[in-house]
């Protein structure tokens, strides 16, 4: 796909989408959004970039391989759960710092857990899309 318009717009849009995905992640606890939809938006940013500029470019922009991102997501989610254990409570008990911060709001382990979901979804989606897409390119 060699479209100058798509390539140019994608550069702008990718950034906007990524910021939007983080926005969705952070507001998720109180307003529509969350790690799952945030992760999907982030993934679609990379997919758009891949379509416009090719899969190698998208991979290098992603920096880590999707495998690593999936692993990190799962680890972050589990760590967020284990925080409960460290406090002597059951696994996955939410712990909160009750003083709200500007923009982000209150901080707590559920946000960390949601961050894990975000990364897992991002990694899973990009892994599937990249696998399917690159396999096609190879045979062309």
């Amino acid at each position: 796909m060699n479209s100058v318009i798509l390539a140019t717009v994608s550069r702008l849009l990718t950034g906007v989408l990524l910021v939007f995905s983080v926005f969705l992640l952070l507001r998720g606890h109180n307003l529509p959004g969350g790690g799952f939809s945030g992760g999907l938006v982030a993934a679609s940013a990379f997919v758009l970039f891949a379509f416009a500029n090719g899969f190698p470019a998208a991979r290098s922009m992603l920096f880590f391989t999707p495998h690593v991102i999936i692993g990190c997501g799962l680890v972050v989610a589990i760590v967020a759960g284990l925080a409960g254990n460290l406090a002597g409570l059951p696994f996955l008990t939410g712990l909160w710092d009750k003083t709200p911060l500007p923009v982000i709001g209150k901080l707590g382990t559920p946000l960390l857990f949601d961050l894990g979901v975000y990364f897992a979804v991002l990694g899973v989606t990009t892994l599937i899309v990249f696998s399917l897409g690159e396999d096609g390119e190879e045979e062309e």
Binding site: F36, S44, G81, L92, G94, D114, G116, V124
Partner: protein
């Protein structure tokens, strides 16, 4: 001292996980460092001796899964301690031995990982107080022995033997688990220490106790290679010699015996105990020695005699008199000492000469003096020659048989004939390879490194010491063990060397003489071993093979039917099952539609619904794949719009995103698919339409049912919405459910997602002919 069992257990498992790393750093010497752990463990266990000898127990409790009542409870009494010492001491010697036997092997680190894993599991089995904990360690021994037997994993025979051992002991393990659960529920406790305090007679009188007994016996019999499950043990000789010496003589196969002994006070109260256990043991004993006679492989000979000894021990426990239990414990100790020695020396002979055929071996004593000495001591003990523990234990064995209830001289005849064969085979394994004229062997024989003969020699010396002064072994190990088995703290089971001119002594003398005579006949028996191959066709191993083949062909058949590779068939299967499973519950519960409770249709919702329906119909009818995908997209986006209208913005947003990415995936997968043709026959189309219509109807009814029951029990959703802000600091209930209330579900879901993605990756990348396999 209470926490010794746990500390040692943790140390052994820690050593197991450090072993591969240690091997990388230290090379072959890592075995010597690692052996310090079981040696230290043995010292720790030895420190418990005074307390145990005084009739005390060591117990340790720690809650583990309190909600299921499972606890890390350990309990050490005389029986446990006997096993703990054997496992740790022989474990240390085997660790040395492996350092020599497997020197230079690249995966020695992995071997030690498995070996120490096994050691820890075995120590766990014999010191666990909780039946479920015992079962967990029990299964761990099965798994680690699978890995050890299959150590030479590039040899098909070795893999088959490992699998056989795993399947047989695993099947028995399942029976054991079922028995444990039934027993625990029946008795109201899973703690062995509490079970042993209970009144056995009332427990046995409960209905269903026979089931418990049979299930637990099946577990013990498979593990301890009792007839008809004995065949896996000789096959497991594919394992390297250290494994055979450790697992198949001293420890794992005795786990079944341990279980019988551990639950002896309970199970032996059943009237079925004696008629099941004693004959099974006797048959196994005779079968073992008969099979051993015809083998021309030192390891197989030792394996079959091990089967015979396991049979003997089972038989003694089955007889169940005080004397029989005491004899069983003495026999067990003696056997562990001499059989580990002989397994190691025959492994050394194999290692240094390249053959294990007793007919090809002879005169090695000059080349391998230390190994010869160790083997001689082991052989003498196995033959039951005075001044060795084997003699003492055989005296008690005969005494127990003479004392056994029941009429006739059957026990004595069986016991003496088995022992006669043992004598002949002891000479074959302990004497023949080393004495007489030196025979040429495939490799030029020379003495093995000290690591390979010191352990067997020390075990031999232990056999002499305990044989000369049996009162120490009697008071320290055998007596407390027998007392623990009998559940009678007052029982004093000392061992004596000299009992006077008794019948047992006479039988011993007869045994040795007959054994020597039989030894002379052995070459002729071995020459005629073709008969065994003929008999094997009727043996239980044949049944195992047929069963395995049957299961595999059933699996092939049902995989062919269910996993046929056509997505449409999978969907059809899922849909039909849903229709049947949900459908048969529906009649009678579907209320008439309550129109007043439903949302009043307006122009917008009706339009969207019509769009969805049009999209669905269009997707079915179109002859272009691209159009079909777009039409499905219309359906998806339409549903997202419905979510929006009924104030579920989270769902709507996610639905739109998923729709978008699905479209992307379709586009990518697009040109890989064959040309879109219309291959379905009319009949097939009608069938599909019918299935779809039925499924749609069922789903509509489910919605109606759900709607009518909603008002009644929406406690869950009310709880969620009321507590979302107060308990979880979030106003978005959907998100709070995902990351807090039901976070464990979410964790499971993202794990499944990750696995699915890896599956896609694997299918795309690791296909044959694909160039990229590095994941970049």
């Amino acid at each position: 001292m209470e926490n010794f069992p746990v500390i040692i257990l943790v140390a052994i498992f820690l050593a197991a996980f450090l072993a591969p790393w240690l091997h990388r750093v230290l090379g072959d010497r890592c075995g010597l460092v690692l052996s310090l752990v079981p040696l230290a463990g043995a010292t720790g266990y030895a420190l418990m001796l005074p307390q145990i000898m005084a009739g005390g127990v060591v117990s340790f409790r720690h809650a583990w899964v309190p909600s299921l009542g499972i606890a890390l409870d350990f309990y050490v009494d005389g029986l446990s301690l006997l096993f703990l010492l054997l496992i740790s001491v022989i474990g240390a010697f085997v660790t040395w031995y492996a350092a020599g036997y497997l020197a230079g092997k690249k995966d020695l680190g992995r071997f030690y990982l498995f070996l120490f894993g096994f050691m820890g599991s075995m120590l766990g089995v014999v010191s666990a107080d909780h039946l479920v904990l015992l079962f967990i360690f029990w299964e761990l021994t099965s798994i680690s022995s699978y890995l050890l037997i299959g150590y030479y994993h590039n040899e098909a025979k070795s893999r088959a033997a490992a699998l056989q051992a795993l399947l047989v002991t695993g099947a028995g393990g399942l029976c054991f688990l079922a028995g444990v659960i039934l027993l625990g529920r029946m008795a109201g406790t899973f703690l062995i220490s509490e079970l042993l305090q209970m009144d056995a007679a009332t427990l046995v009188a409960q209905p269903g106790f026979t089931t418990v007994l049979v299930l637990i016996l099946l577990g013990a019999f498979t593990k301890s290679a009792q007839f008809p499950f004995h065949f896996w043990l000789p096959n497991a000789m594919e394992a390297p010699a250290p494994v055979s010496a450790y697992l198949h003589s001293a420890t794992m196969v005795k786990a079944g015996i341990f279980l019988l002994a551990r639950l002896f006070p309970l199970l032996s109260a059943s009237p079925l105990w004696f008629p099941i256990v004693a004959p099974v043991g006797a048959v196994t004993m005779i079968l073992g020695v008969v099979m051993a006679l015809g083998q021309n492989d030192l390891k197989k000979i030792l394996a079959y005699t091990t089967v015979a000894v396991l049979g003997t021990l089972t038989m003694l426990l089955g007889i169940g008199t005080e004397l029989a239990v005491q004899a069983a414990m003495a026999y067990l100790l003696a056997h562990a000492l001499y059989k580990a020695t002989l397994f190691m020396t025959s492994g050394t002979v194999d290692h240094e000469t390249g053959t294990r055929d007793p007919d090809l071996l002879g005169g090695l004593r000059r080349a391998m003096p230390f190994t010869a000495a160790a083997a001689l001591i082991g052989g003498l003990s196995m033959a039951g020659v005075p001044m060795l523990l084997g003699f003492v234990s055989k005296e008690y064995f005969y005494k127990a048989l003479l004392d056994a209830p029941g009429s006739g001289v059957w026990w004595e005849v069986l016991g003496v004939s088995a022992s006669v064969v043992m004598v002949a085979l002891a000479i074959t394994a302990g004497f023949k390879p080393f004495w007489g004229r030196l025979k040429p062997t495939p490799k030029k024989a020379h003495e093995a490194p000290w690591t390979m003969w010191l352990g067997p020699l020390l075990l031999g010396v232990a056999g002499i010491k305990t044989g000369l002064f049996p009162s120490y072994a009697g008071a320290g190990l055998v007596g407390p063990a027998a007392a623990a088995v009998l559940g009678d703290a007052g029982f004093v089971g000392g061992l004596k060397l000299w009992h006077g001119w008794t019948t047992a002594l006479g039988l011993s003398a007869v045994t040795v003489v007959l054994g020597l005579a039989l030894y002379g006949l052995l070459p002729r028996i071995r020459a005629a071993r073709g008969i065994y191959a003929g008999l094997a066709r009727f043996g239980p191993e044949r049944g195992y093979d047929n069963l395995l083949e049957g299961v595999l062909s059933f699996a092939r058949w049902q995989t062919g039917v269910l996993q046929n590779g056509y997505l449409r068939n999978y969907i059809m299967t899922v849909v039909l099952f849903t229709v049947v499973l949900v459908g048969w519950m529906l009649p009678g519960v579907v209320p008439p539609p309550d129109w007043s409770a439903m949302v009043r249709p307006n122009v917008l919702t009706v339009t969207v619904c019509l769009l969805i329906m049009a999209g669905a119909v269009f997707a079915c009818l179109t002859s272009s794949r691209f159009t079909a995908i777009l039409a499905l997209g219309v359906v998806g986006i339409g549903i997202a719009m419905l979510y929006f209208m009924f104030s579920a913005p989270d769902l709507a947003m996610t639905q739109v995103l998923v729709e978008t990415l699905t479209l992307v995936l379709f586009v990518l997968a697009f040109y890989r698919l064959p040309v879109f043709g219309n291959y379905s026959k009319k009949a097939v189309k009608v069938r599909d339409a019918l299935v779809a219509a039925v499924f749609g109807t069922v789903m509509a009814m489910v919605v109606l049912v759900e709607q009518s029951s909603r008002a009644a029990d929406n406690d869950v959703s009310r709880f969620m919405s009321e507590n979302s802000l107060t308990l979880a600091n979030g106003r978005n209930v959907v998100n709070v459910i995902l990351v807090d209330f039901r976070a464990l579900d979410t964790l499971g879901e993202i794990t499944v997602l990750a696995i699915a993605a890896l599956g896609v990756f694997a299918m795309m990348r690791l296909r044959p002919g694909s160039k990229k396999e590095d994941g970049k």
